[in-house]
Amino acid sequence: MIEPLIHVQNLVQRIGSQEILRGLTLDLFPGETLVLLGKSGGGKSVFLRHLVGLMRPVSGSIVFEGQEITKLKERELEPVRRKVGMLFQDGALFDSMNVFDNVAFPLRERGEKAVAVIREKVAQSLAMVNMAGHDHKMPVNLSGGMRKRVALARAIISPPDVILYDEPTAGLDPIVSDSINRLIRRLQRELSVTSLVVTHDLVSCNHIADRVALLDGGRIHFLGTPAELQETRDPIVRDFVDGRSGETVY
């Protein structure tokens, strides 16, 4: 039996008086692309932040490659974070640096000094996300889709074991969304990375997912393949898939 790369057990998180996660349990296996669906504000991004220690749960455990990470101190999390690439919703590019310096940042921080090596790896990374030739642009001068691509180039420059995508296609037009989806697939194929994609975009889900999970009420309500998602009769899943709010129109 394959051991999960990330094993999440009974994760609970509260923000103020609101219970965001209510005992979430989920496994992420090596090499797969798992898409986590759910309503806006349902706790998907909050869950993702727990996987790299950006948030601490109230209770529950997250085991990453056999190591429990919820109790680790900030500096003890650094080796785990080096194995994970994270794509934030709006890219979270450093706005004081141009595209080249943003992408080169992880390399420089990990001690790479050779200018030629940095230049070559940045060029490769940018080419992979179809952003070659934009090295000197500042983040403020990039479109939403371009920012996400650059952020992805930054996330993969030191090839990670896992990539966490937070709403990679949110706010993008269908054509740019499609190119991001293809990019996620390509990265999985070429770098053999494990991916967890948080989204509410069903088109994206059908394009990239090996497995799909639906987060509802702070728990995983459904877990299966994209085909099973389409076929299920579960009313909560059906409402989500068919886009029904359940509200009456007067």
């Binding site: 790299v52 994270m86 450093f94 921080e109």
Partner: protein, 261 residues
């Protein structure tokens, strides 16, 4: 009554605790050599070089106006030549460090909070952490080192310009005897006064940088939150400088007693 006290005390103690923890973490990082040379040099340019105009104007005009006021009072007692040492000692011991601190808090502290706060609310600090880079090492350590190096030098510059302006106004505008002016300044101002200015500059620099960085790192609620944090930095830093100045004066006067010449 107890709840009001609790409402006032709890946030104050939380803030003080967070400041102490940030200062401790920064000092530990510096001690362990987690220093980024290029970023530190960039911050020194920002804090030191970028503050030249405000420090020059503050020092020169404070010295000039203080000289004029002291002269108007002392002239009626025929003590014009005491103006030089009075201005010099005041500039070294009090006005130079306090005014430099207030000006740097307004210019540099506010900018630090705005920059770090914007990074916080746009998830750039989360991105740093996700890339296994500690925000204290990357953002606070260079700023703290730059402040610790630059502030004492800025204070000395402010004091020096204040004394020079005092000499110019006193001797060339108000016709105080230049030889007496200079001799009295030399007679009364000592190395201990310079030490006091340097120590105060160092301490005020620490207050500004830790208050500014903490406010930035705790910023929330978008642009409004960054604005609030920036205002809080200027107000808190200024009050902290004025309060710390009193206690430092009392403490340093034990080490470097005034009036022992």
């Amino acid at each position: 009554m107890l709840s009001i006290l609790n409402g006032l005390l709890a946030p104050l103690l939380t803030t003080l605790g967070e400041l102490a923890m940030l200062a401790w973490e920064t000092i530990c990082s510096i001690a362990r050599g987690r220093v980024r040379g290029r970023l530190t040099l960039k911050q020194i340019a920002e804090v030191g070089f970028g503050s030249q105009l405000v420090v020059v104007v503050t020092g020169a005009f404070t010295g000039a106006v203080f000289t004029a006021q002291a002269y108007f009072q002392f002239a009626s007692l025929n003590m014009e030549t005491a103006v030089g040492p009075v201005v010099a000692l005041s500039m070294f011991r009090e006005l130079g460090p306090a005014l430099t601190g207030l000006m740097v808090a307004g210019r540099v502290g506010a900018a630090m909070t705005a920059e770090i706060g914007t990074m916080k609310v746009t998830q750039q600090i989360d991105a740093l952490r996700a890339l296994a880079v500690n925000p204290v090492d990357y953002l606070v350590v260079p700023r703290a080192l730059a402040m610790f190096i630059s502030m004492p030098l800025l204070v000395v510059e402010c004091v020096g310009l204040g004394v020079l302006a005092s000499y110019y106004v006193g001797v060339h505008v108000l016709n105080i005897n230049g030889v007496y002016f200079f001799a009295n300044v030399q007679r009364f101002a000592e190395g201990s006064d310079i030490m006091m200015a340097l120590i105060k500059g160092f301490v005020f620099g620490g207050l500004i940088v830790f208050i500014s960085c903490r406010e930035g790192l705790c910023a929330k609620d978008g642009a409004v939150g960054v604005g609030r944090a920036t205002t809080a930095t200027v107000v808190t830093s200024s009050l902290a400088i004025l309060i710390a100045n009193f206690f430092l004066t009392m403490a340093l006067n034990i080490l470097f007693p005034a009036g022992q010449r």
